[in-house]
């Protein structure tokens, strides 16, 4: 794991483990999230990314380990972080407008950026469409909007580009960058290495339920080069394969 200034860590995960029967979904996972960064959780399918997110968000009970928000434990997480799961269709009978406005009211969201988020994610034509009638990509953009409008400073998004085409993925990445502020931090779970490399500041590599590396692209590249004994500059996929 790369060195970090613990004083800057918004969230610190320490020794998190979760077992489903004989399957060790998470095994002693530890990392930190810093203020104002986009942290990418990278790993192959079945690495434990969603399980880790749900444990951090408090929607799944970990067997062991601790989660600290600043200097306090995870009991106050509802005011610190907001988790946007992948593959959900909340309130399917309701239109997009209702879902976003209800969420703004229910979560006490960021009204001041409502119109901007709608514009950034091109949701205006979809406002009267029920959630159940949206395509996969349209639903993902709606969920991204829901997350961006949440009041919490730390936003966890599981697979933010899933279902989006190339142009939409780039626009979504640009939108995330646009809304990144010193008091806004993103933690993204991405299985597409290329997408992760373009949008994230730092990475946590997860494989087989364990963190195999944590750091910036340069840090991970150097680590991978040492491990394989050759130059892997600007090839994050090779870096990822070398480390996992």
């Amino acid at each position: 794991m790369g060195a970090f200034n613990a004083a800057e860590a918004l969230v610190r995960v320490d020794g998190l483990s979760k077992t489903y029967g004989r399957l060790h979904a998470l095994d002693g996972v530890g990392f930190s999230i810093r203020a104002g960064e986009i942290l990418g959780l990278i790993g192959p399918n079945g690495a434990g990314k969603t399980t880790l997110f749900e444990c951090v968000a408090g929607l799944e009970a970990a067997d062991r380990g601790d989660i600290f928000f600043g200097s306090v434990d995870g009991r106050h997480r509802s005011s610190k972080l907001f988790y946007v799961p992948d593959g959900i269709a909340p309130w399917p009978e309701q239109p997009v407008r209702w879902v976003l406005e209800y969420s703004l009211g229910f979560f006490g969201g960021r009204h001041e950026i409502y119109e901007q988020v709608l514009d950034d994610l091109a949701l205006a034509p979809l406002m009267q469409v029920p959630i159940c009638a949206l395509s996969k990509g349209q639903r993902k953009r709606t969920l991204l909007a829901l997350g961006l409008l949440a009041p919490q400073p730390i936003l966890l998004i599981d697979e933010p580009f899933e279902g989006l085409d190339l142009r939409q993925s780039r626009e979504a990445a640009a939108t995330l960058r646009k809304h990144l502020t010193p008091d806004r931090t993103f933690f993204l779970s991405i299985h597409q290495i290329a997408d992760a490399a373009k949008v994230c500041d730092r990475f946590v590599l997860l494989s087989g339920g364990r963190v195999v590396a944590e750091g910036t692209l340069d840090t991970l590249t150097a680590l991978a080069c040492r491990r394989v004994g050759r130059n892997l500059l600007e090839d994050f996929e090779e870096v990822f394969l070398a480390l996992t």
Binding site: G58, S78, Y83, I88, E93
Partner: protein, 669 residues
């Protein structure tokens, strides 16, 4: 409003209430003397037993088989859609979330109570009696029952991974309580006591107009415990083992509270005839007996005497005396093989150490034993009983209201509130509004098609033109103004002018009406043209019921006839019943195969010398082959037809008669 399952439940509850209400009213009418019941029986009838409770029973069915699915969908829907994962991050306590959903579901259930209100209004319109406290007791019982169902469904939905599993759990609980009641019926003892706190058994007390505080408290404990369990299992981030432990603790605490509630005594008899209480003088005497009374009844659980003893006497005794203990002793379930036992059938009374044995299970017998033990004189005079409210009324109008109007209104409203969803499927808002408007108007249309009365409305007819509500076939028919009314006139003058060329009197549409294949009609046109007729549009087949109209005779040299046309066949055959102002009689005529024949003439008498230029009512009734004609409400003709009638109906006249017609009413049976 977005829950389709709620709309489905709402649509179904109308017909459910309708079936219960209509059958209850009919049964009540029969018991009230419609079928010749003795007056004594009718005087004992109270609407609570005969109409109100049976009508409310529809809600028990709905609460058992419809409401759970609505509640499960509302709770589990968030879990399956993923909305729960978002909602849990808001920081709101899961108990608050469950509570809010339960309140919303309860409000939706209250809305589903509208058909009951409609039933009450109909019953009152028939002249039926309603006693508000009894209705309040029933409503409270069913509301508590619904609350228990909603809370249990919430718990099942939170506990299960899938809504179908939750549905199975809830149904298993419902069936389990029925099994418990069944076992209690023949086992008695502790089973009977436990079964008395199941939702279906709780309702029994409320049905009798008895509000028991112990039942209300037990219901609240069940509701609260179930909602707390639902909230516990909604906490996805808590380990399963811990949630299971917490649920077990909650259930144990709830069981303790319910046990404590069983010792709560206060109850209120809100029935109109105070069926759950002794008379005032007896109640005063019994309440003064402060010594503990112990009753040991040697009767088996399925012995009918035990049921009567419990329902007629011991229940009232527990409410009246401060310290009463009842124990049932038997070796078998039915008592059939205990009859020879020494003590079977005996009732042992122990009052403050004094004992007496009796066998009477009647109220008087039990009270006499208690008075003897207490050493007090029974009341000298009996108290006047409560008179019942018999009512021999038919559920008029109930069928179209509950079976047609209610489901269509719910459908229309449901479409309106789901307009966004349907807009995306190609239906515009205009389409939906039209559909809703059609549904709003459907009751009127439905009234025309159902067994309800149809009254022909002439207000939209154009004066001077042929009517659109009737199809003129023969003769000259047009709409005229008569004072403030628009009426239909058959004008005999053109007939008189064309009496040598009667084919000219046939309406142009007559042939197309009877189609070209009906050559019989063409061959018999001369005869046919003697009788101006117009058929009613929209009624293609009348076979049983009543038809009435108002007529006014104006002129005619050959005839001055006004009649009702019926049994019109495609080949031009018909029947008519008419009044003739030249003969002053009422007759039934048949026109068959081109020949008109007299079927029956009513007795001619002075009252049939009707005043001309005044309105009179002509009415006919058909029940199978039983035919009658009435003039101004008086029976004028009776006849047994050779076969039932069918086919179109309308207006009839003869030759040069000039008459006015209005208020044409069809009442199918």
């Amino acid at each position: 409003m977005s829950s389709r399952s709620w709309w489905v439940m709402l649509a179904l509850i109308g017909p459910l209430v309708g079936v219960s209400f209509i059958s209850a009213v009919r049964s009540y009418a029969e018991a009230s003397g419609q079928g010749g019941t003795a007056a004594g029986l009718a005087d004992a009838l109270f609407p609570l037993d005969g109409v109100v409770a049976p009508t409310f029973s529809a809600y028990e069915i709905a609460a058992s088989f419809l409401l759970p699915f609505v509640a499960i969908r509302a709770i589990a829907g968030d879990r399956t859609s993923g909305a729960l994962k978002l909602e849990l991050q808001q920081g709101m306590m899961p108990l608050s979330m469950v509570g809010i959903k339960a309140v919303v579901l309860g409000a939706g259930w209250l809305l589903a109570g509208i058909p009951i209100v409609v039933a009450g209004i109909l019953w009152a319109s028939y002249g039926g009696s309603l006693y508000a406290p009894e209705i309040g007791s029933l409503a409270l019982g069913h509301l508590l029952n619904a609350g228990i169902v909603i809370a249990l469904a919430a718990a099942a939905a939170s506990l299960s991974e899938h809504p179908s599993t939750a549905a199975i759990l809830v149904l298993a609980f419902t069936v389990g309580t029925w099994v418990l009641s069944f076992v209690a019926a023949f086992q008695g003892g502790i089973w009977e006591q436990i079964a008395s706190y199941t939702p279906s058994e709780m309702l029994q007390a409320f049905r009798r107009g008895l509000v028991r505080l112990d039942l209300v408290l037990a219901a609240f404990v069940l509701i609260a415990a179930s909602l707390v369990v639902a909230a516990v299992w909604m906490r996805l981030g808590v380990p399963v083992r811990r949630r299971a432990t917490e649920s077990f603790v909650i259930l144990c605490v709830a069981a303790v509270f319910v046990f404590v509630a069983t010792f709560v005594k206060p109850s209120w008899d809100v029935s109109e005839n105070e069926r759950n209480s002794f008379g005032e003088s007896e109640a005063v005497l019994l309440s003064k007996i402060t010594a503990p009374l112990r009753i040991e009844a040697h009767l088996a659980p399925e012995d009918p005497r035990r049921f009567d003893l419990e329902k007629q006497t011991l229940g009232k005794l527990r409410r009246t005396m401060p310290d009463v203990t009842v124990e049932y002793v038997s070796g078998t379930a039915t008592g059939l093989f205990e009859q020879a036992s020494a003590h079977y059938g005996e009732i042992w009374y122990d009052l403050g150490g004094k004992r007496i044995v009796g066998r009477a299970t009647t109220t008087d017998g039990v009270l006499d034993a208690i008075y003897e033990l207490a050493g007090i004189q029974p009341p000298q005079e009996g108290e006047a009983g409560h008179r019942g409210h018999p009512l021999a009324a038919q559920p008029t109008g109930a069928m179209p209201v509950f079976y047609v109007a209610w489901p269509l209104a719910v459908l229309g409203l449901g479409l309106f509130f789901q307009r966004r969803r349907f807009r995306m499927k190609g239906l515009s808002r205009r389409d939906l509004m039209l559909a809703a408007a059609a549904c709003a108007g459907a009751p009127l249309y439905a009234a025309r098609l159902s067994a309800a009365e149809l009254k022909v409305d002439l207000s939209s007819e154009r004066v001077g033109q042929p009517p659109t509500t009737f199809q003129p076939i023969v003769g000259t028919w047009r709409v005229v103004q008569d004072g403030g009314d628009r009426v239909i006139m058959v004008d005999g003058q053109p007939w008189k002018a064309n009496q040598n060329n009667r084919t000219a009197l046939l309406a142009e549409r007559a042939r197309s009406f009877y189609n070209a294949s009906q050559e019989d009609f063409i061959d018999n046109v001369k005869q046919f043209a003697y009788y101006p007729i117009a058929t009613l549009n929209g009624v293609d087949n009348f076979s049983n019921g009543a038809i009435s109209l108002k007529f006014k005779t104006l002129a005619g040299d050959l005839d001055r006839c006004s009649g009702i046309l019926f049994n019109v066949k495609p080949n031009g055959d018909w029947l008519s019943t008419r009044y003739n102002d030249t003969e002053y009689n009422i007759t039934l005529w048949t026109f068959r195969d081109g020949i008109r024949k007299l079927v029956r003439r009513g007795p001619g008498r002075e009252p049939w010398h009707l005043a001309r230029d005044q309105w009179h009512e002509l009415r006919m009734t058909v029940a199978g082959t039983d035919f009658k004609t009435y003039i101004d409400g008086q029976l004028a003709l009776e006849y047994t037809l050779p076969e039932p009638v069918s086919g179109k109906i309308g207006l009839w006249s003869k030759t040069d008669s000039t008459s006015y017609f209005k208020d044409y009413i069809v009442e199918p049976a």
